[in-house]
Symmetry: D2
Subunit: 344 residues, 4 copies
């Protein structure tokens, strides 16, 4: 029987992607949609300007959008996917948890909190049990799990695959798609025939979230990995797909062949949204490319290529679909992990 | 009285930019245009598909294009600007030099040869005197000077400004415009809504040319700088302007303020094409941007911004117009330096 | 049992799309791939630079490409899909037909020949029987059927839906995607931040092919419709999807509601590649849009919207995916029609 | 001595272009900048996010922005350029005129009012004297002159050049740049790899403004031309430059040569911003193109090409820079005409 779920912040870009993924999902049934006060009371169809490249699901079109308030969400909803703006998320997510809801959230607030698991299931699914600590400390019936930033999700799986070589220093330069900023986040006047070498707070997210994700959980607390990461972030005129250039220095020797073998054999999971092959490794030096490779594994795989022994350590490029693997899909995957691990 | 000049490879993208710059130039007078055999004998207008955003100069439209052969170029031409494909350049440039012509070349062949000066006038104009060694060794009446690759030119001036801090390690990720590949170099199917994390041989050029440019010439031979450089190159959907993300580690402490002050005060030259201000330093974190900033100093300035103390050393971004400062303008500037230093 | 098929001109943009469609097709089995002499003898994987956004099918990767010559294609192949350049097609297609092969061709040669059916199955499938006349006249065992130009296919179904109102005059302005010109047809320098108001011979194709498609076949000969069509064609920076602005003047009054009802109820067919709904009619004035709507019906539907009573007659916009409904998919659909009608 | 001028709505896209044009203008001196209440009191530099591709003029950077209110503008300012949103313009422009200011306005409000001259100086400069009627009727010391919509300005000069042939019916399809919608008017998610076949109210503007511009003024009242115009408008991914496809049917025969000759010889004016050649006529069938041709005549010329005898009358394409000739430059030109005709 399908779990009844809701979407907090259902009208935005990630909210629409969540609906696109959840509507046909066999384990989940959409039972609640929330948005800001100005949308509450309207049908979803009227509240949202649907702009995904598949038609709006009929079952959702006429659902009534409610306020983003625990009292407005039916009590028999078990799991909420949150794509709220972080300022809103910071305010209302704890209230939902306190009211007993389990949240799989894409919002950036609280990602670095000590008792909030930040999870990519294939990488650090074991961190999910930090929820026990969270519930103890906060006295919540509900729970709050986060997925990382879209640009963090892109490169961390590739690092996770080579941790045995002793990660020491990582440089990452990102070429990020406009969808990462939401529908109205980047105007066309800003980005056509252009690139913007700045995305507010983004570099810090890559540098800190990656260490938390690669850290270890001993059942009581989480320690962050001590790999050092330096990030430089750019917005470019692509719709979907974040491409990243990586240099990694390791304590043990890491050859191109070692890295490719490690990534190719890195395990995926059996969760419904997890791809068969987590990391696609390309031999062609000019791949992966956003438009050609972002939909691998239904947009849930990561791709890597361009491996080269660099002046400093190893150099390669990686890519993931930022609104699927990097946002809506990441939250759905965490929802599946919550279900499998008995948190619902 | 204007020096009579010619353009080798006059029909291509850089060739057209050279003509755009040379035609109104007070010190130079276009007297010869060469191209491949299939164009020889045609008027320039018919041989070239003119695609620059200003009309084809009238004085050039009806000039007859000749073969790229020393015998086909009038003897009273003193200076030749070369934008030949590197394979052609490798073959014919020495023949022109032997025939007594002085060449300011943008072609990539021979850039790393021991007796060929690779010059950005504001950075290492003193290397030009390596031409004495060249003439001695090769027995040429002519001479061959090269400007670096467009992506090298973009970041080397910013490094030159901070050499006093002891450059040790540099990481550079490039976001390069399509014009760098010539008119038909990148198809629209390849790059719209996309990025390509690979440009053949480009990374090697940044890594090696930068060391030669920052090296020192003692009057007899050139020693390369020992800064270590690692480059990762990407093509993105912009028309003109290469943007680069830089991380630099230095032996002495280098603060954001130090770097900005050093770049802002870095000297330009009095050559006609040299900009008043060589490096424009931005305080706004999201600048420079290709479309907004590439034409600073008539496309001959470099811009820098986004300074930040990084996990490893200093981080910043820089930008230059790749077909002006990075190619045609660079060759013209070297022509001006040759003139000023009495090589014509 | 699947029909054994081949692709003539298998390495190009449309050839790759054909393979993408044919490989999983239950009625067809790919048994031959041809290309130019320089590719013959190579594996398909080596001969083609695969650039479709799904991986190259395994069953095809190692097939050996042959010359585009009837003798090089196995005799048990029944149906050939042709995406040859029109100059090559004009030369070799008749030879294949004479050798007994049935060709469903996307090449523009011979489209307007009196005895060659030009077919969009849902619009004028009955024209296929012109093949009887063709075989009689030419003495072929094989046969040659053509699909129209991609820009013609986009608007003709919408006109077909309203022929009862007495089509008199049609103006059509096209905004065409770059994929219509093949992988290297439009360089990025030509089209980024730009539009090109010219596509060689394209306007003539819309003006003449549309009349042939809307004409009637009496069992012996084909008469063209006498609607007058004026076309103006533009290339714009989109990857896939041709958008067209239409004004149509009719002898009978045609209201917005009439037109929408007629298009919405226009019948599709039961062929495998025919969409459930042939024409999607939008109420939103700003739809259809290429990126949002081109994949309706797996890229085989046509969309229409923006209906408005104009100064002259009715005005609306339509859209189709140019390499699916407009090229490769059109040829596959004609192949399905040939199969259903017993021509194989 | 320079006339003291102001800019109403100085912080927007057209406002910034106005400042770029007015600051170096020998006849005008910027003395007032207004914006919405939230900007009033700030320096222009802080109030506006300057995004033009030349640095913000120093003389303007520190000017204080005031409310858009007649009382806030110094009394010695004679001429105001207005680029207010039309809803704001409708409200406040009459108040400025009543307070004695002469307004050259780009805002769309009141363009079709009987006593408001809608002027393109080279086309219908004589309509300016409608201001006498306006002043009489409204009792204003000031005056209000409008320039047409950017997409109207693009094609009307080409029609004006051929009025002698008896204009009857015109179809126009537009391919409009994103800058026409202001800096945040079109999001990148909406337009990259896409086109939008709808711009609110735009078609009506082309259809009605063109008739007013081509009308005649008898000293007392204005009669509109009776040419019938049908427009279809599209937004495409270009930064600047509106391209338009035109079909025109005339009562007298109009050949391609006639049209080209008439446009080529159509007179420009001696106003400072008027280009030497008003209409550039191209023989190349693929010109004009936005990126290559929009800056002809410093962005104040119109280009035409692609002439062809169509199924119905004559067909051609035209182009103008939408924020220069089509907006800010149009207002400045009207300001120059006001000055020359003694209205200041």
């Amino acid at each position: 029987m399908a779990v009844r779920v809701g979407v907090l912040g259902a009208t935005g870009a990630v909210g629409q992607r969540l609906i696109q993924l959840l509507e046909p999902h066999p384990d989940f049934e959409i039972a609640a949609l929330t948005a800001s006060a100005s949308s509450a009371g309207k049908s979803y169809q009227r509240a949202a300007k649907w702009r995904v490249d598949s038609p709006i699901p009929e079952s959702v079109a006429e659902m009534t959008v409610t306020d983003t308030d625990p009292d407005a969400v039916p009590g028999d909803v078990d799991l909420l996917f949150s794509s709220l703006p972080s300022s809103v998320g910071a305010e209302v997510e704890p209230a939902f948890c306190e009211a007993g809801y389990v949240l799989s959230s894409n919002s950036s607030n609280a990602r670095m909190a000590d008792d909030v698991p930040l999870v990519i299931p294939e990488v650090n699914g074991d961190h999910l049990d930090l929820l026990e600590v969270q519930r103890d400390e906060r006295g919540w019936d509900g729970a709050l799990v986060k997925n990382p930033n879209c640009s963090t999700i892109t490169f961390v799986p590739t690092l996770a695959a080579i941790t045995d070589f002793g990660l020491e220093r990582v440089h990452v330069a990102t070429l990020q798609a406009v969808s990462g900023a939401g529908y109205d986040g980047v105007s066309s006047m800003e980005i056509i025939d252009n690139a913007i070498p700045y995305i507010g707070s983004e570099e810090d997210k890559l540098e800190t979230e990656s260490r938390k994700l690669l850290g270890s959980f001993d059942g009581a607390s989480l320690s962050h990995d001590d790999v050092e990461v330096a990030a430089s972030c750019n917005r470019i005129p692509t719709i979907d797909g974040h491409l990243e250039n990586i240099w990694v220095e390791t304590s043990d020797e890491l050859t191109v062949d070692d890295a490719k073998a490690a990534m190719e054999s890195y395990s995926s999971l059996d969760l419904r949204s997890s791809p068969d092959q987590l990391i696609h490794v390309f031999d062609a030096p000019d791949r992966p490319q956003p438009r050609l490779d972002r939909t691998r594994g239904d947009g849930m795989a990561v791709s890597a290529g361009g491996f080269r022994e660099s002046t400093f350590g190893l150099q390669y490029n990686c890519l993931a679909h930022n609104t699927l693997r990097g946002a809506a899909g990441a939250s759905v995957l965490n929802g599946e992990l919550l279900l499998e691990n008995g948190y619902l």
